[in-house]
């Protein structure tokens, strides 16, 4: 077992003792969401600013079925994954043909398309009020309505997602995606149909987002309109970047930092997105490279200080 895995397992055990189980669950749900984005952003070099499209679509569809047809938990999750993947295939098909700035802008614009559909289709989605009353059905006699069993369930699914993602990035597919990130022209020259592989990354990322979306809907019992809004897309990008997009565990660290901070600040001040914006700006201007690099710089600074104090002393 690697050190990272031990740290994560320890965090899973300790977290519900430190924060409310709902926040603890949200951290791992957001981490699953981040894992999906990171396959695109970190491994394929595609900056998708529309991940909430898949997150929100899956949450709405599975939430609707849970609410009106009382479907099984695993069926709901499966449907969520399928909806996430399908919507990602749709969006991805339009986006992978463009690159750079245009790719980013298209993912955002299509995100807006889904947002406005959800906003206007009030008979199903509830529009601005969100879709409330989503149940957490029992499974095999386990009552997921209780916070702790649900937390355990979410944690288990997170570990499963992490394991699957590790397998994906270490597979030949993952290597090809990284080749596309490093040099798309060369990957194409080697005979890989890069557009198809980028689409594949999109679909897989969408499936992870969908899983996270359904878990989120069941956690809070509601699908708010924000779940499909662009701020959610921005948050997951931010979380992944502060964690460090280069590594498998980056989005996990990022989601941990992001959810914890935002949950503690948002209860203090209603205008907390202002602080979030300030945080974005400060991180970008001074701490590019995320938590990992900030730590490295801090250590270097401490080392320098230690040395200079030895010289003078």
């Amino acid at each position: 077992m690697s050190r990272a895995l031990i740290a994560i397992l320890a965090a899973i055990v300790v977290l519900p003792l430190v924060v409310r189980p709902a926040i603890a669950s949200e951290i791992w749900i957001f981490a699953i969401f981040g894992l999906g984005l990171n396959l695109l952003l970190g491994y394929t070099g595609l900056l998708s600013f529309g991940q909430s499209t898949f997150f929100g679509s899956a949450a709405y569809v599975a939430g609707w079925l849970l609410k009106h047809y009382a479907i099984n938990v695993f069926l709901a999750l499966g449907i969520g994954v399928a909806v996430g993947a399908a919507s990602a295939a749709l969006v991805g098909y339009l986006c992978v043909q463009r690159s750079g700035l245009y790719f980013i802008m298209l993912t955002f614009a299509l995100n807006q398309l889904f947002y406005f559909i959800a906003y206007q289709w009030t008979s199903v989605t509830g529009g601005e009020d969100g879709m409330p009353g989503i149940p957490r059905p029992d499974f095999l006699g386990i009552d997921f309505g209780e916070p702790l069993p649900y937390y355990a369930f979410v944690s288990a699914l997170f570990l499963l997602s992490l394991w699957i993602m590790k397998r994906i990035v270490e597979s030949p597919l993952g290597k090809i995606l990284q080749a596309i990130r490093e040099n798309e022209v060369r990957a194409e020259a080697l005979g890989y149909d890069t557009a198809r592989f980028k689409l594949a990354a999109f679909v897989i990322g969408g499936a992870f987002s969908g899983l996270a979306g359904v878990l989120y809907a069941m956690l809070f019992g509601i699908v708010p309109l924000e779940a499909i809004g662009f701020v959610t897309s921005g948050n997951v990008v931010f979380a992944t970047l502060i964690g460090g997009s280069g590594s498998l565990y980056g989005p996990v660290i990022g989601s941990f930092v992001f959810i914890w901070l935002s949950e503690s600040v948002s209860t203090l001040w209603a205008r907390w997105p202002l602080l979030l914006g300030v945080a974005f700006v400060i991180v970008v201007l001074f701490f590019r490279g995320g938590v990992v690099e900030a730590w490295a710089r801090f250590s270097a600074w401490r080392e320098r200080k230690w040395r200079s104090s030895r010289q003078t002393g």
Binding site: V237, L241, F280, V284
Partner: protein
């Protein structure tokens, strides 16, 4: 026409600076709120119409000079995060200063009421906006096409290295392009305020539309942005007349449909 103004400003910023400007919608909202405030303060709509977009342009100047300038080498992800953060700050600042509830701002007395066009009755202010926005687009286009500075800006879109090798200060060019783009966003916002009223969410709605216009217009294609802006505006007006609920969705649907057929945009080469 307003969409064309927004799109033109954004296309300029995207083309010259090569950054994703998620603060473009916020600059639009700032223009609108500045207009309402200055018009109420000094009691003169026309003066406010001059002042408000200049405020947005100054803000753009500051943003480029203090922030974006340091990020040209940083990659799109960080540039995006920065402008997105700015957008959050600006829209929250608007809520702090002007309150979370939207309100309306009346056009000046001269432009209230409507005109009889024979076949239909049309509000005077909307006619004014159409003409004003049309003139602004024309003026901007003439500036870019016919003047020396305009030529430098277009050259900056084509080849930045070559421009700076020719002894032109590329940083000044970037600052100027961003400020001009911000000015266009600000004046679009100022003109919009009496039509749609003011709300903190107005920036984001417009941002999505501006992206659509640029994506449809094609890479670095300013004329394409104008044409796409007109197309989107007309499509939305037609749909809104028959099915109001779908009017915000239709913009994105048109974009998706066009991109299915022409992935490079209407006038794009790449």
């Amino acid at each position: 026409m307003l969409y064309a103004l927004m799109g033109l400003g954004l296309a300029l910023i995207t083309g010259v600076l090569n950054i994703p400007n998620f603060a473009h919608g916020a600059l639009f909202a700032v223009g609108a709120y500045l207009l309402a405030s200055t018009a109420n303060l000094i009691g003169n709509f026309w003066l406010a119409l001059v002042v408000a977009p200049l405020g947005a342009a100054l803000l753009g100047l500051a943003i480029e000079y203090l922030g974006i300038r340091r990020l040209y080498a940083a990659g799109h992800d960080y540039q995006l995060l920065f402008t997105f953060g700015l957008a959050l700050i600006l829209s929250e600042a608007i809520i702090l200063v002007w309150g979370p509830v939207g309100y309306s701002h009346l056009p000046p007395p001269v432009l209230r009421g409507g005109v009889d066009l024979g076949f239909t009755f049309y509000p005077k202010y909307r006619l004014f906006v159409m003409v004003a926005a049309g003139l602004l687009v024309l003026a901007t286009w003439l500036f870019l096409e016919k003047t020396r500075y305009g030529a430098i800006m277009r050259a900056g879109i084509e080849n930045k290295e070559m421009v700076s090798l020719l002894g032109i200060d590329i940083h000044k060019l970037f600052t100027a392009a961003f400020a001009l783009g911000a000015y266009l966003a600000g004046i679009a916002g100022a003109l919009t305020a009496p039509i749609r009223g003011l709300s903190p969410g107005m920036g984001v709605d417009m941002l999505g539309i501006a992206f659509v216009v640029v994506a449809l217009g094609g890479l670095g294609n300013l004329l394409g942005a104008i044409a796409a802006g007109l197309l989107i505006g007309v499509a939305q007006a037609i749909v809104a007349a028959h099915w109001t609920e779908a009017s915000s969705v239709v913009i994105y649907a048109v974009m998706a449909a066009v991109l299915l057929v022409r992935p490079q945009g209407l006038f794009g080469i790449r």
